[in-house]
Subunit: 672 residues, 2 copies
């Protein structure tokens, strides 16, 4: 029995050869990635069910659909999925099962009920008062379809400047929703355009002329029978985007639109029937939800990257191009060091991000328990580190997918690879849920506070302990292999400390030049972002190290260690600037690390396919002709292309309409 | 009269304010970018004509079209453009006028005659023997539509392994074209799928069982009357790609398809009626065409980047978000140092790439004259540097567009910004016309030869002179401003020299360990690519310096110098690794350069809008709601969105089909 469990008779021989070389059990590695054998078993059970129910499949590849067809296809599949949920054996309250089921049925592209599940229901859960739970009940059972409308045409990041108003009318006990300007129009909310008939709307609460800032309201948008927009509501689709064609991101404006007072979500802040405003008990109740969403994003990004690498590495094992030794025949492109260098450090990152996402989620769960007991200090710290992680991981994942796509040459550019959409969907995360530059600035604020404390010899928190720990003047990294990686981790600590303190001191210098706190901050923003990035990469390195150290399975120990080792070398070389500048690492030490890195590329290469196979992403979920498990790429590229929308007829109308007249006229002219 | 000539009454005031701050004349800068006032005048004349002829416009934004509609729309416009060519006042043989006209009418997205002009006609020009000129005549007058079919499903880079065969049949004086395997299928040629009825096909010439390698044949593919594929021909569209929807990239296979012997293009190699093969007089006739195409790519990429920055910088001047000084009101996002850092070094690159593209083109023209006189040595050198430039410039441009897109926040993700397509089209160049990794390896071969010569004290050529020039041990860069930039250029030379020699010495060390030349090369490939990259960036820095030094116009001198200065600092900091490692630059010197860079960001910021305005890209050509000259973004985003394909009805069929039944059923269930 081979150690790679994805090997089957009849597979492309080049790919089979790779799988026979596995030095670890891919099922055991899958259990490490997905946190337990039981989860792997459930994933596969769900995949099998989805394969059986052909009603849940696409009639043909989504890439060949018009946007209308995409929207309709996604609506068909998602409603079908819910109606079959019992037969599929999935409990809708099991988040992990639902996530995998949706991924199998829908893929990455979104659907008309996406925001309903991800934003509408959680908003109601978090903000409905006891007597408002009927809204939640209706949402949970899908009697209504909702979304969450916060972002406006003119404002995304700076929520305090949202322009939509909800003005209390004491006479009628109503709120009057209004969009006073063009930029006040709600813009971007998913499924707002055509699908939702309700929304949780964020609007500035105004009572007796006083603005109490953004609050949440539940708002009916469309007639339940006809789905026509209600009077006073203008709503529609904002048009196509870089990816996610099936999602109807929407616009929404209000013309003095009235809702009952009781449609304000009143779990926290309240407005009494008399029009009296009662503020929430705790000011910062929002942190928890943001942290939760962002910690999920880390794991999602890891999976995006793993998907791209599954395609790129499998394809690199079946694509033969060029010879290394003349006359020895063309080699698999995975033999080229440049290809290994493009893919394997990215693979290490996919593992690193996955382990980090898990660590942050566990931390979140622990901190949440503390918060329930009234201990809130760690929540802020967690908020800052998830901000940094969100920015760094989404950025590096985008770059990694882009490299993976290009490593597939021309075929990676075809939608048959699924790489273009994967890229388009993954990079959206760089922008939403907090634009990356803003996220880094948030973490930087925490780091500057920490640097101030460190100067006084005090540690602000566990995450910035390295600022007060004594650090060596020179690294102890040398030519000998250092299998506990402590010297590497120290280099990360050192790099973070150097840049955090550098940004801190530059801040002080700018203020000494007479700049105000705010102007100095802006004049220092690039250095501050650097500090936030290095700090975050230090955090990822430590998490990766911790998680790999905890792997006890004998056969699965060595390969993750090699991945970790590759990651540490690759990242330190990438951040060499900070360490060389200070003299902590010498050029010679960098050379040792480089040699080590090249050695690790060669060492990991025979397990490359097995390391992506371990992510256990099914063909149905991957939706990539290049990344098929069986490696039969070329014949299936041809099959795929034959279904292209342009191949439905041999001759397009364009010929008779435009091309033939042009040629005939030219021909006639030539006879003159 | 303001110095920025794009200022108009009624413009968005935030943008107008920027334009009033210009310290140089944008028309004069445009003349520098486009090489003369006359070219700027012609560009504007053509733009104006295209604006007048509404038949050349899109009925609505291409983003809302199905792929069928895109193809048809492009065919309509391009045939109309040719039939109006006299009225438009454009001479079809004027390459610069035609390029601008096509860009205005078509944009970046391609059309059914794209390959006809770019590949088919040039192939015939280069390879038709005197008695084959009737093909060229038919092509030039558009009596036939052609493309160039080289790449196969299984082979792109390694042309020697192309599988399509053209077997000579002495009895009939014909060639039999055949695709012996699935991977032999031609795959990717633009316009092959549905538009072309002829192709120049690359196939291995076989005479009496002997394979003479790839040769070119002119091949009819479709019936001129019906456009149906001819017997023995299988042809179709390969399906949608990352971008370029209107282009029907195609597949093509031959089943013992016969063409006359005279359809082999015989300007160079020949096959006589008796079946005797006559080889070409010169073996490497291909260099020249490749160099020509790649030097064009540099200029194209510069323009792609300038387009992205035109959108991003104008938008950054009208988008207000967040306050710097609390209470002072929201600021233009261009005020943030992070935003300046994202955009201004990229703007410097757009100028650098544009100047470099021009320098390489001029060098090409000079070298071509030498070649005509029998002096061929510089052509090889030019071939290597264009290989490196192609790889480095396409990669950096992709990254730059991506940053520009993300700097627009959410709206950059909308197709209204045109950023997604711009990115998709620009990055295609990373892969075609020589995959980037392969390109770098080609340049590295030259550099290793140069390093070998340098070791012996000899310079191989002008481009690698720095290898033999004595170089300082430490950089003279210091806190004082150094306006002749010589110290900066020396740092580039030094970085290139260090890495080239490092790769060379590592090569020797690997061979000393017993590796064959080929295996050592592969084990050193990453270091070799690094050498090629640093060398290329050194080349760009020098070209930028040369061209800026040649600007004599007084008012237009300072700003390009500041851009150059920013570029030099930014790039050296980005390549700091090489220089810190060796001790050539100290950490303190790096800090000086950083401070200088931050100072330059602030200094260039007031001219940022004028620096993109100078590229003189019309609204019609830019096709970006965010990048409109007048800055009226928000109201036009709303106008744009209203035309979205999903807004043609208030209620989509999806509601009655899927969403309403789901909600009704849930409602009924809730009553039980």
């Amino acid at each position: 029995m081979p150690l790679n469990k994805l090997l089957r008779d009849g597979d492309n021989e080049d790919l089979a050869e790779e799988r026979r070389k596995a030095t670890f059990d891919t099922d055991e590695m899958a259990a490490i990635i997905w946190e337990g054998k039981e989860r792997v078993r459930r994933r596969r059970e769900i995949t099998k069910k989805v394969n059986e129910y052909t009603e849940l499949h696409d009639p043909y590849c989504q890439a060949f659909m018009t946007r209308h067809e995409e929207v309709e296809n996604a609506a068909r599949k998602i409603t079908k999925m819910f109606s079959l949920i019992d037969k599929l054996g999935v409990n809708p309250t099991n988040a992990a099962d639902m996530a995998h089921l949706t991924s199998e049925v829908i893929g990455l592209y979104g659907h008309p009920l996406a925001l309903h599940a991800v934003m509408f229901i959680p908003s109601l859960q978090a903000q409905c008062a006891d007597d408002q739970m009927h809204w939640l009940k209706k949402a949970m059972s899908r009697q209504i379809i909702g979304t969450y409308a916060q972002t406006e045409l003119g404002h995304g990041t700076n929520l305090r400047k949202l322009e939509t108003t909800a003005t209390h009318d004491a006479n009628t006990q109503e709120f009057v929703l209004h969009s006073p300007t063009r930029t006040a129009m709600k813009w971007w909310p998913g499924n707002l355009g055509k699908s939702a008939n309700h929304a949780v709307v964020v609007a500035c609460l105004i009572i007796d002329g006083k603005n109490y800032g953004p609050h949440n309201f539940i708002v009916p948008l469309r007639d339940p029978e006809t789905h026509m927009p209600l009077k006073g509501i203008t709503v529609g689709d904002i048009g196509p985007k870089m990816a996610t064609g099936p999602v109807d991101n929407g616009f929404l404006s209000f013309d003095h639109y009235r809702i009952p007072r009781t449609n304000m979500l009143m779990k926290h802040a309240k407005v009494t029937p008399e029009g009296k405003y009662i503020p929430p008990a705790h000011a910062k109740v929002g942190y928890s939800a943001m942290v939760h969403v962002r910690s999920h994003m880390i794991s999602d990004q890891a999976k995006f990257l793993a998907q791209a690498l599954t395609t790129a590495i499998r394809y690199s094992a079946i694509r033969r191009q060029g010879e290394i030794q003349p006359g020895d025949g063309e080699v698999k492109i995975l033999e080229y060091q440049t290809q290994q260098y493009r893919l394997l450090p990215q693979l290490a990152r996919a593992y690193a991000f996955s382990f980090t996402g898990r660590a942050v989620r566990d931390l979140y769960l622990r901190v949440q328990k503390d918060v329930a007991k009234g201990k809130v200090d760690e929540m802020a710290e967690l908020h800052y580190i998830t901000s940094g992680l969100k920015a760094v991981v989404t950025h590096l994942t985008g770059e990694g997918i882009s490299q993976a796509r290009m490593s597939c040459g021309g075929h990676g550019y075809s939608k048959a690879s699924n790489m273009p959409d994967l890229y388009g969907i993954a990079v959206a995360d760089c922008t939403y849920e907090g634009e990356n530059m803003v996220m880094l600035q948030q973490l930087a604020r925490y780091l500057m506070r920490a640097a101030g404390e460190a100067e006084k010899g005090r540690a602000l928190g566990r995450l910035v302990n390295y600022l007060v720990e004594p650090s060596d003047i020179h690294s102890s990294i040398d030519r000998q292999l250092d299998y506990d990686y402590k010297a590497h981790l120290k280099a990360f600590d050192k790099a973070a400390k150097l840049q955090v303190m550098k940004a801190y001191e530059r801040m002080r210098a700018l203020k000494a030049q007479g700049l105000s706190e705010e102007d100095a901050w802006n004049a220092n923003a690039v250095e501050l972002n650097r500090a936030a990035r290095v700090h975050t990469r230090q955090y990822i390195a430590h998490q990766f190290y911790e998680q790999v150290s905890s792997v006890t399975d004998g056969r699965c120990r060595e390969v993750p260690r090699d991945l970790l080792h590759l990651h540490l070398n690759y990242e330190i070389l990438d951040m060499a600037y900070y360490l060389l500048e200070d003299g902590f690492l010498s050029g010679q030490q960098m050379d040792y690390m480089k040699e080590d890195m090249y050695r690790l590329l060669a060492k990991l290469r025979p397990n490359a396919v097995s390391l992506v196979d371990s992510w256990d992403i099914s063909d149905h979920e991957l939706r990539s002709v290049l990344g098929r498990r069986d490696g039969h790429v070329y014949e299936n590229l041809y099959k795929w292309a034959q279904e292209s929308e342009l191949n439905r007829t041999q001759v397009l109308p364009t010929f008779e309409k435009y091309l033939k007249p042009m040629m005939m006229e030219a021909h006639a002219q030539s006879k003159l």
